[in-house]
Symmetry: C2
Subunit: 364 residues, 2 copies
């Protein structure tokens, strides 16, 4: 059964539709297209699988498309320029609706192209990976990478609607599914301990993509994310809590080179380290930190950084993270499971201890 969640932002309010076979419901999508023209951005992999189905649903509209390469390395300004070139060549106006059909990379880059095309056109997000469904499609953050840093060029641009078809997860490689589940666990860890328990009771169903469990999970994760985002659209405070695991995680991603680690995998390790640091500061028990680590293990996620990166490199890279303010490193930590908090004054010594402890697979 389809679910609908309304996201309330100051300058926009838009629905997230979650359910099965959404791509086979033309009227559902058509209701959010204000004019005749649609411009679909997808990548070669997702395009092969779902573009024809989407275009069938868009019969009656004037549809043009552009396929980008598959992978984080295409998330650049050069690709944005190519998308915009294709939009101009096909005569798109300010009334065009851009549809982002794909995972996080497609959503970020198509969202950004839509945000800046003629200073902004309507965007519909159709996320096709679990990570994009529960995370990047909600909240209006769009971006591309700069050689010197991830997501350094971007905009806040809310979609007019998001369609989450859980059926498409069947074509997702298992590793990407698990990476998405890391973000789901993050939602529980930062806002809802009960959700963590529910996830633990449903490990098998979820890994097997049992549809009712998956739909329920996607809805709950979108609820948590959109609740946080609605309260803090420009990431001035509360929204930073969604970056649980990201200070450590981004360091791993950046140092390994984009694409070697999946984002969710790096966030999984980052959460283990954030929980470890929280325990060292006396904010959570070592038992709770262990519980989180064990849950990640049950979902077959990594819990320690790769051997080829040493702690000095990780520490230096953390300082360059964009979550750093003028003051210094900022961490999202845990005041108990389901209750994240911001911490700006963390003794360097404890950070070093956490990095050290991250090398062992068991609790300290």
């Amino acid at each position: 059964m389809n679910k609908r969640l309304q996201v309330e932002m100051s300058d926009a309010s838009y629905p997230i539709h979650i359910g099965r076979a959404l791509l086979e419901q033309p009227q559902l999508i058509a209701d959010y297209i204000s004019h005749q023209s649609v411009f679909v951005v997808s990548n070669s992999t997702v395009g092969d699988l779902y573009l024809d189905r989407l275009k069938a649903a868009l019969k009656g509209f004037s549809v043009n498309e552009y396929l980008i390469g598959d992978g984080e390395r295409f998330k650049t300004l050069q690709t944005v320029e190519a998308i915009i070139g294709a939009m101009l060549e096909s005569g798109q106006t300010r009334e065009t609706t851009v549809i982002a059909l794909g995972g996080g990379v497609v959503g970020d880059i198509a969202g950004f192209a839509g945000a800046v095309y003629q200073r902004g056109v309507n965007v519909i997000q159709i996320p096709t990976t679990l990570l994009a469904q529960v995370d990047s499609s909600v909240g209006g953050k769009t971006a591309v990478n700069h050689l010197l840093g991830k997501n350094m060029i971007g905009a806040f641009h809310q979609p007019v609607a998001v369609f989450i078809d859980v059926d498409v997860l069947a074509s997702l490689p298992p590793r990407e599914l698990r990476a998405g589940l890391a973000e789901v666990i993050k939602h529980g860890a930062l806002a809802d301990a009960g959700y963590l328990s529910w996830l633990q009771s449903n490990v098998k169903n979820l890994l097997a993509l049992e549809k009712d469990a998956i739909t329920k999970m996607v809805l709950r994760s979108c609820e948590i994310k959109s609740s946080v985002v609605s309260q803090d659209e420009r990431e001035s405070g509360l929204r930073a809590l969604l970056n649980l695991g990201h200070t450590f995680g981004h360091a791993i991603e950046t140092l390994s080179g984009y694409g070697v680690w999946l984002h969710g995998e790096a966030v999984a390790v980052g959460m283990v380290m954030a929980a470890d640091l929280s325990a060292r500061l006396g904010k959570i028990t070592w038992e709770d930190a262990g519980y989180l680590k064990s849950l990640l293990l049950q979902f077959e996620l990594p819990i320690s950084p790769p051997d080829n990166l040493n702690n000095e490199q990780l520490f230096a890279a953390m300082g360059r993270d964009k979550k750093a303010t003028g003051k210094g490193m900022r961490f999202v930590l845990l005041n108990g499971l389901g209750n994240a908090c911001l911490e700006e004054e963390v003794p360097t010594e404890l950070i070093q201890q956490t990095l050290q402890a991250g090398r062992k697979l068991c609790c300290p």
Copy 2:
């Protein structure tokens, strides 16, 4: 004497300071810098003239800078990427304030870089050409060009403050001064017939850069522009009136190649043609159309398109203008001097007659 004009937008309110020697008043600027770091974007020409003066005024802040090449051809995504690279290398955070010191190109590109750097940082505009002072620095429009079209990639991003130092106009080439005056005349033509009369009484003072007349003029033009912009931030209706002369003007600019015609020069010709078309539709008298043309001539501005462009080319290029909606060409016309209006249903035959008439220097 310094003037201050407050611009009211839905999500921001910011002042425009207008007067002499503003760059020598450190406290005035410092009040709008929220943190320690400032990143100045300028170009090689303006940088040579005013960067040291600005940096002296910013003593006490951590100041980094990036100079772009001088000219419209540098208004590209590649330059944005280079600016952002320099910002990352110098460790700019989300708390950095970007200062755009220069003409319209610098304002547009630095404003856009500020809009997208880590999804948006504070921007201060210090426009140094008359065109930028009365037009592009007000309203929060930022953009760069795509090979296939001018200003096709951009964002709405309001500055935290605008400083207009009329003293810097002394270093402006006379041709650029006159191009700026075309936009000033546009403000009168679209919103205030009395302002047009005042301009006519002050032709000599203004061309001689007499400071009181110039300050009064810049203030009145900014008032007209900001009044229109405040009522229509996203250019969905009213704001389009500011594009008086632009449908014809952009066609001339695009076909001639960026930089051959100055924007204001093209707008001057565009206004003559808009007035001609308005007279053909019975919206204004031929006398009023002639009055506007004569005022432009007194300010030594061009009033007809270049001989090397034929009317077929101009007509085709107008259809590609981004002001075109899904429906077709949209014109800003005049219902009398000082009273612009939008017109979507203009008979092609009349447009052709106007293009034809544009070849003659006198009224039809």
